[in-house]
Amino acid sequence: MTQRDDSQLMAQLAQGDLQALGELVKRHQARARALAYRFTGRWDAADDIAQDAFLRIHRAAVSYRPTADFSTWLYRIVWNLCLDRAKRPRLVGLDESSDPAATPDPDQLEQEEQTKIVQQAVQSLPERQRMVVLLHRFEGLPIRRIAAVMETTESAVESLLTRSYQQLRVKLANLK
């Protein structure tokens, strides 16, 4: 059995096939959750954003035209939901990914400390700069696709990216 591509699944979803939606969620939830988590710093918020993104996809399935890559469209929806979330009052604190009951390993502690510094540095960036860095460095998107996700020009993305790296350079100067 050949694997159906995303646009075929969207066509089936437009005809009311919810199994196609389930398949799309399985395929893309990891990237949607990770991007939303890196943006918000919280897994509960990331899960809410990912769920809402797939529900928006469900609602828009009838009018979907495969003019762009499906994941570009998904990233754009996640980006818009992240912006909506950023307008709400901030929840205090970031999720702690480490297990407090685990035996502290010095190397692991150092790694966790570095992760926390990087996370805080990225999350201190303004929203557009933060999203550009996340899409570029962690999702591996080329500049052209980042511009498509954020509905802007490639030169604007390059400008945002350069400014972000200048700010991060200061904040991460002491990191190994």
Binding site: L21, V25, Q29, W43, Q51, R137, P142, L172
Partner: protein, 150 residues
């Protein structure tokens, strides 16, 4: 070696080809302090690994449940709207096409006060002496003011 600029370096670090140079971005950064700083920041960001909490199909189940309930919700509203449309159409049709056999009786144009009093059974009350002072009393403005003796 000419510096390609930070934006171009970032493109190349991400695997995007550069038209004007095919040398390694790391080889270039070794001799360019600005690009070395960008490269160091790029590497530092690589420390941020993310491990998602186990999902066990919860996301798929939640999305499908919400999608199905949204669909049911719309279906219910469509059914209610259809029933209302049919009912109002039927009511309008009945009002338009039902023949009227005789005209509705209308109230008389002029009503005699005495008929109303009799119909309501007030004529008995109007007889003296019960309402004598009230009915036969002169209007208030025509009454004389009490004499001031002070």
């Amino acid at each position: 070696m000419q510096c390609p600029g930070q934006a171009d370096l970032l493109r190349r670090l991400n695997g995007e080809s550069s038209a004007d140079s095919d040398d390694s971005p790391r080889a270039h950064a070794a001799n360019c302090p600005d690009c070395a700083a960008v490269l160091a920041t790029w590497d530092a960001l690589g420390n941020w690994t993310v491990t998602a909490p186990p999902d066990d199909g919860a996301m798929v189940a939640a999305v499908l449940s919400r999608a199905a309930s949204a669909r049911r919700g719309w279906g219910a509203w469509i059914r209610v709207a259809a029933v209302l449309a049919i009912a109002s159409g039927a009511g309008w049709g009945a009002a338009i096409f039902t023949p009227v056999s005789q005209p509705l009786s209308m109230a008389p144009e002029a009503v005699d006060d005495q008929q109303v009093v009799e119909a309501l059974g007030l004529d008995a009350l109007a007889e003296p002496p019960l309402l004598a002072g009230v009915i036969d009393a002169p209007p208030i403005d025509s009454q004389e003011a009490p004499e001031d003796n002070t």
